[in-house]
């Protein structure tokens, strides 16, 4: 069999497997990300069967997956929302950064991964999954709750922080000096501010340039623009992912809504591929030794997220049950923790154990987070004997 034939067979099996896993996840009302990682572990190096034929396609497809993930994230927000969010909730955002970045950074130092490792693992534990949080809020009927805007504004700030964090990480992973790192910070802050300003003033122009009444043309222009911007950003050492995130922010209004609709299926395919490839490159045998540490890290960062959420909710005058709900919604980590770890693994600058630790950590929090968000309030109410009154 030729290389292409093998690759087609393997891809077919992988996507069918992912379809099955996605169905199970939907049945259980959970995020499919942990199951995709599990699928990747099963078919990768040291797994049940080793799939070697898709390395080339898997690599480029997962890059595109990251670009599309970030583009869709950018499309979710308007520049105005980001700027207002920054103005109103920066104290909560800062507390979030300090509290949830630290545990990851400390553990990386303990493992002897140095400053670069601390930067990576800190980012992994910092960023909550806005995808999982939004799903939890919708599924539990909490969109009308008063603590919900607080939760959303923290998520907005985290996502915005990624636009500054990812370029710095890219520079650091490439082995930049302290000065080079500072330069990356400067460039990325400048680019982010320029894009936000451009999007606020001329967002409609960028949108109308991309827009086309014909769905096919629209999709091609959108993908073309995203990949081109990602490539340019990558050349400028600003990280491809951030380029597409900023493009997403700049596209606004009805164009953004249409873009979300046409891109969603593509994003699902390529993002699934990204998670699988991350799993493929992780040897399942490396997970058990770090599992205990992953549990410890999950517990510590669940506590810090709960502290952040409750504090931010209290600042907005929310009662104690609302504070509890706000805190638990933030526990789940997901897609972007894997994006960060993926960058680190691809650069080869970090010990292979990191991938195992992050895989276990994300699987734990992504599965447990929504469960805790659902049951924390009824459980605590039972403990303090203050039953919920349904009226």
């Amino acid at each position: 069999m030729g290389g292409t034939t093998v690759a087609l067979l393997e891809l077919g099996i992988i996507f069918l497997g992912l379809g099955l896993l996605g169905r199970i996840a939907a049945r259980m009302g959970m995020s499919p990300v942990p199951l995709y990682l599990l699928g990747g572990l099963a078919f990768g190096h040291g797994g049940l069967i080793e799939f070697g034929g898709i390395a080339e396609f898997g690599h480029i497809a997962s890059e595109i997956g990251v670009v599309l993930l970030l583009l869709m994230l950018g499309l979710e927000y308007t520049a105005k929302e980001l700027v207002t969010g920054l103005g109103q909730s920066w104290p909560a955002g800062l507390a979030d950064l300090v509290l949830s970045f630290t545990p990851g950074a400390v553990m990386a130092l303990m493992f002897g991964w140095g400053g670069v490792g601390a930067m990576v693992l800190g980012g992994v534990t910092y960023i909550s999954s806005s995808g999982i949080a939004a799903k939890v809020l919708t599924d539990l009927g909490r969109l009308g709750n008063r603590e919900t805007p607080t939760v959303l504004s923290i998520l907005v700030l985290e996502d915005l922080a990624m636009a500054v964090y990812l370029p710095i990480l890219t520079a650091v992973l490439a082995g930049a000096s302290f000065l080079g790192g500072l330069q990356a910070v400067g460039i990325s802050l400048l680019v982010v501010s320029a894009v936000l300003l451009l999007a606020l003033r001329h967002g409609h122009r960028i949108s109308s340039w991309i827009h086309s009444p014909d769905q096919e043309t629209f999709l091609l222009r959108l993908i073309g623009a995203a990949l081109l911007v990602a490539g340019i950003a990558s050349t400028l050492q600003v990280s491809a992912a951030v380029g597409s995130f900023l493009l997403g922010i700049a596209i606004s209004g009805s164009t953004a809504e249409n873009a979300v609709r046409v891109l969603e299926p593509l994003r699902d395919v390529f993002a699934a591929m990204f998670f699988v490839v991350f799993g493929l490159n992780t040897d399942p045998a490396t997970i058990p030794p770090v599992l205990g540490w992953a549990v410890l890290l999950a517990l510590a960062t669940a506590a810090t997220k709960m502290a952040t959420g409750s504090w931010a909710a209290r600042r907005s005058g929310i009662g104690r049950w609302g504070q509890l709900r706000a805190g638990t919604t933030l526990i789940a980590r997901g897609e972007f923790s894997i994006v960060i770890a993926g960058l680190a693994v691809a650069s080869g600058a970090i010990d292979g154990q990191l991938a195992a630790l992050v895989t276990a950590y994300v699987m734990l929090t992504a599965v447990a987070g929504p469960v805790v968000a659902r049951f924390a309030e009824p459980l605590v109410r039972r403990l303090v004997r203050e039953p919920e009154i349904a009226r």
Partner: protein, 158 residues
Amino acid sequence: MEETPLPGIGVRRELVLDSGRRVGIVIHRDGETELIVSKLDDPDACLASIPLSVQEAATLGSLLGGPQLVAQLSEEHRELPGIRTMQVPLTRNSPFAGRSLGDAHIRSSTGASIVAIARAGEILPSPAPSEELLAEDVLVIVGTDEGLAAATAILNGS
């Protein structure tokens, strides 16, 4: 009314009632609407959040907006004894759903007149005889007690 942006999701518009309860809607980016009612013991949380279709939301709006119009008209007719204002919802099985207002001949046979139609959350004042009636319209009718009773019977086919 309070408006709260929900970044990445949409916007929430709500009203705080005298009882302290919040009642309002969450409008998603894609236009989906949810009716929300907060709890009394925990006003931060919601007792219910009910997804509504565009049509359902509009009908609910007419039902809620109708009484205010009736109260206003009744106030204006207070000087005229024997005249009342009433709102009559057009049921799905009304013989006039989908037909023009003129076909019902309300004025000539009962003496009552249809002064407004509440539809899709909006009020159509002084509808023309050519105006098409739709199921779930709320008709605002002015007339005597007998006239109103007769008009209701004609409109809803009994």
